[in-house]
Amino acid sequence: MSDTLLQVEDLRVRFDQRGRRVYAVNGLSYRLRAGQMLAIVGESGSGKTVSSRALMGLLPPSATVTGSARIDGVELVGMPEPEMRRHRGADIAMIFQDPTRSLNPTMRIGAQITEAIRAHARVEKDAARARAMELLSLVRISDPQRRFYEYPHQLSGGMRQRVMIAIALASDPKLLIADEATTALDVTTQAQIMDLLGELRSRLGTAIILISHDLGLAASYADDVIVMYAGRAVEYAPTRTLFAKMRMPYTRALLDAIPRLERQSHARLPITPGQPPDLTALPPGCAFEPRCARATPQCRTSRPPFAQHEVGHWWACWNPCKDGEPV
């Protein structure tokens, strides 16, 4: 398809730490259209952050990335650092979970934004300043003239996250990765930031990858949803299809977990009973099998393929749920 912005194929990430190998991402594939909002959901440790940082070359040296990820046809996996730097911020930008820690506490807001503007374009100081003001207005920060000269701790959490978004948008990226960008915020602020992201997407045409463990959040904002488990995609569908015909027992478990999640979550707790899989030694069969209510002997021995079983609806399960059937 011609409007494909990002094509991820069989992406794998492995960490080598003192003889121990952690297989964090194990063959992830998906496609993102320009201007699309895709949610990647999954419980803690499922590889959401690692797989998206791999796209930007922002993993520590202990990580080995293989497979393919092409943005506008340009291969990102294995790209040398100096070249990768030209894509960072310019093509792909990222905002993080904790806006308190993701801004430099000793630098003025304005300097942090203009730095991003001037990273990819020859812009005079004055022009960069004007553009920063524009960006601050764009993310609806009132009184940008004043905020420009303030330090992060003088801003509320929601405003800091808006500043992070302004920084991310500085070079008009085609893709914005929001990694749990609203998890640390209160419910009202969370909704405001999500609305802002939605608005920016339609105004600027920026594609957004929304990383979250909250299936509910994904349901309200994303066009498509990928559910990840143990570093793999296990279900992938347009949001409406997914909620109408949820096939994976794990997705169902995630959905059932929403009321229990409370806000403030991001606790490193499994959402469904049982332990998340050991990423140093993945089983030969379905990784969810030890925790799955629908598991059969086949699930233990052979891994279900991730395939398009219905139009636009992909999943990897030997015994998918039927329409409306309880787990």
């Binding site: 960072r88 911020g89 000793t106």
Partner: protein, 322 residues
């Protein structure tokens, strides 16, 4: 930049300094009186008769009760008169000036050398952690910290003064006489003081930089902007480390006083440390007292300066985090 909170801090800290300096002076006075022998005995030597000694003691006012002598001294001190040397009969304050200048020059040079080396070395080490330069700098700074500075000073003398004869082993050339001569005479003592400082700063700075580069979200944000690695290191990591470094330098200033006493002795530099040791030997309690008071005031001021710089420079403190 100096808002009223900073000014209040200065006022409060200066007020707190008064009892500290006063306490130090009382303690010194008391301890000095416990040391056997006094200036009169010391001046006249072991051959002197008890009558001669008593006469000189009376002239010097040493026979008066301790408390009276202290109050007498204090009365002068609050007016800036630190008394008259028992030995040279010169006003102590006259001698303090040039002595302080010498010590100040050595310490200043030591700071320049240590920071001038520690900052680039730490930056290079943090840019490529666990690589060659990082490992070397870690080994040097770790071993360096376990070598006493007088041992290091003697090694310097052996190598650069005795073996290579690049620098004089001892002695001091005033700045007014010859600038290069002055720097040459201060080079070895300054390096001797600078080396442990260099080790200390390098260790602090290197690990602070590496910790930030590997663990801080704002470093990830900076990298995600697509700016270069040096810019991330300098504008983001080093900037934050600099605030901590300033505090450490300020605190070091007070611990350096001890180092000057030893180093000035080894290199025969006419600084305040040497003045103190000589005065102790001659039991010139007035001079000892003056030196100790000067040390106490420098310590208090250095700590105040460190806090103040931190408060003025670091925006997190400047605006009071909320």
């Amino acid at each position: 930049m100096l808002g009223s909170p900073s000014l209040r801090l200065v006022g409060k800290r200066l007020l707190m300094a008064v009892p500290i300096v006063l306490g130090v002076s009382i303690l010194t006075f008391w301890v000095l009186n416990l040391i056997p022998g006094n200036a009169a005995q010391q001046l006249l030597g072991p051959e002197a008769s008890p009558d001669q000694i008593q006469q000189l003691e009376e002239e010097m006012g040493l026979n008066r009760p301790q408390v009276v002598r202290y109050l007498d001294w204090l009365g002068g001190a609050v007016h800036g008169d630190l008394g008259t040397s028992l030995v040279s009969r010169q006003p102590v304050t006259d001698e303090l000036g040039p002595r302080l200048a010498v010590s100040g020059e050595v310490v200043g040079l030591a700071f320049l050398i240590s920071l001038g080396l520690a900052i680039p070395v730490s930056l290079l080490a943090a840019r490529w952690p666990n690589r060659m330069l990082d490992r070397i700098s870690m080994v040097v700074s770790t071993t360096g910290l376990s070598v006493a500075n007088y041992v290091f000073a003697l090694l310097l003398v052996l190598l650069f003064a005795v073996q290579l004869a690049w620098f004089p082993a001892i002695g001091y050339t005033p700045l007014s006489e010859s600038v290069t001569g002055n720097l040459r005479s201060l080079a070895l003592p300054a390096i001797a003081i600078a080396f442990p400082l260099f080790c200390f700063y390098t260790r602090f700075l290197r690990s602070d930089l590496v910790d930030q580069m590997q663990g801080e979200d704002y470093i990830m944000t900076a990298r995600a902007k697509g700016i270069g690695p040096w810019q991330v290191l300098l504008r983001h990591a080093f900037r934050n480390s600099a605030f901590g470094l300033i505090t450490i330098v300020g605190l070091n200033l007070s611990t350096l006083i001890g180092a000057t006493v030893i180093i000035e002795q080894i290199f025969a530099l006419p600084g305040i440390g040497q003045m103190l040791l000589q005065a102790i030997n001659t039991r010139d309690f007035i001079v000892v007292q003056a030196c100790v008071i000067v040390f106490a005031i420098i310590t208090v001021l250095a700590n105040l300066l460190a806090d103040l710089l931190y408060a003025v420079l670091d925006p997190r403190i400047r605006y009071g985090s909320n």
